[in-house]
Symmetry: C2
């Protein structure tokens, strides 16, 4: 078995003992599973979150109408990207699995609030905006199941401020599967990653280094061997007809009580737990 390389993209501000302990535990556990572990500790390195002209070394092509995606694609082709992006590209190329870990995606620790607003914190969003460069991470031809990273896996790992039932379709915050869709489909699946079921710590009442707090705590088998969540193959959409679902696929789906995915719901009930569990 070849050694798997895991990139841990980590975003938590506290240099305090608890979080240090959690991160150490995560790295230890992954190593115990035989993985080589790379860490991008975003707050620690003061990762630049905003996508600007400074991400390009040398002159930009069109300063009058600066277009970030276009300019960074050219800079990538010409090896003129900022060094911190180049570093992350290198890690990403080596990684078989990328874990996006933020202990407080949805909360303020202990206070249980959706601090980071039903999404990843800005510094992690900045990693996605800046590191997933056009050309390097995707093109119009290479996306979704035909995506550039289709041999890699990716996984979200986070705590919530609310109990699981509050993030159900019957609970005040609505269905977590819907909340996860834009990130898991629009970022990870878009680049071709095989998306593993997220690791969610529901409303931990007491976070201590002894708690099941290692970001992989209680998760078996090792994530690198897990089956990914189901997303539709790109070729069921007709490129020649505005990337609409092919009629024959839609027909085949007619008898199903559920839509294909959260986003491709086909005006039917959503497939239950499809963004949370593999094999559903």
């Amino acid at each position: 078995m070849t050694t798997k390389t895991v990139l841990l993209v980590y975003a938590h501000q506290s240099a305090g003992s608890f979080n240090a302990a959690v991160k150490t535990a995560a790295v230890d556990e992954l190593k115990k599973q035989g993985c080589r572990v790379l860490v991008s500790d975003l707050y620690e390195v003061k990762f630049k979150a905003t996508a600007t002209e400074d991400d390009i070394t040398g002159a930009v092509k069109n300063p009058e109408h600066f277009c970030y995606g276009n300019e960074t694609m050219l800079a990538w082709q010409e090896a003129r990207l900022a060094s911190d992006i180049v570093d992350e590209h290198k890690k990403l190329k080596e990684a078989d699995l990328v874990i996006f870990q933020s202990l407080t995606i949805f909360i303020v620790n202990f206070l249980k609030f959706p601090m980071y607003w039903f999404s990843v914190p800005a510094i992690m969003k900045g990693w996605m905006d800046r590191v997933l460069t056009l050309g390097f991470a995707y093109t119009l031809e290479k996306r979704y199941s035909e995506g550039i990273f289709r041999d890699k896996k990716a996984m979200l790992s986070f705590t919530t401020g609310s109990h699981e039932t509050m993030f159900s379709s019957n609970g005040i915050n609505g269905d977590m599967n819907v909340t996860l869709w834009p990130i898991q489909n629009g970022v990870l699946n878009y680049c071709g990653f095989q998306v593993l079921a997220p690791q969610i710590f529901w409303a931990p009442t007491h976070l201590s280094p002894e708690a099941p707090a290692g970001p992989l705590g209680g998760r078996r088998p090792p994530p690198s061997n897990e089956a990914p969540l189901a997303f539709p193959p790109a070729d069921i959409f007709d490129k020649g007809k505005g990337f609409q679902l092919k009629p024959e696929v839609r027909e085949k789906q007619a008898d199903s009580p559920f839509g294909l995915t959260v986003g491709h719901h086909l005006e039917k009930p959503l497939p239950p737990q499809s963004q949370m569990k593999a094999g559903v």
Copy 2:
């Protein structure tokens, strides 16, 4: 009629003529509608996107286990927040309507890619993470329809790289209503804002200052008079029972062919276009 104050939270990197023209057009149009306009031009002021200890003046309470939400709530109460956050708080307090405008939420201009990954760019996410301070913008008691900003309106304004049909439940990117849910519900509605239908420019093939490019272009009546999107009142969830939908509400909903919202879908088809149009 009292003058409405509009806060335009604007995120585009280009200082070039096109974007300057668009922003100017937006401000002009709002003024023509009789509004007082405040602008937060995030790239222009190099808005700090990451939520860190530097957002607090003076000592933090618990440096060993720094908790951003807790610490900034205390700093807000004690008037020790960073001055850029204080400035934004002041604008937000004065605003009747907040427009979040990013010309490239889902794309690289012209190249038509989901550049900002099915969400707002990191710098705008940073505005949300840092300015919507616990205590100032929400508490556990004051959220959703009982939220602090329930007398204010908010609206997203953005272009897409794909045609509208590609962001349908039948299209490759999935239903835009699902993509919008975490931001419009989890950020805007969570703070109590009345959420206006988003202004979406679908795959503009040619962006020029003469195009219908003013962020309010073609939108009538003025957004400040529009009816908001429908979200369920907070009191239909039972606080005493884990904020679950009250059984009598669920029963009343039994005959409806649709769920309540995108997130509160109750295992039924999603209400069509509910994140895109008012009155549905």
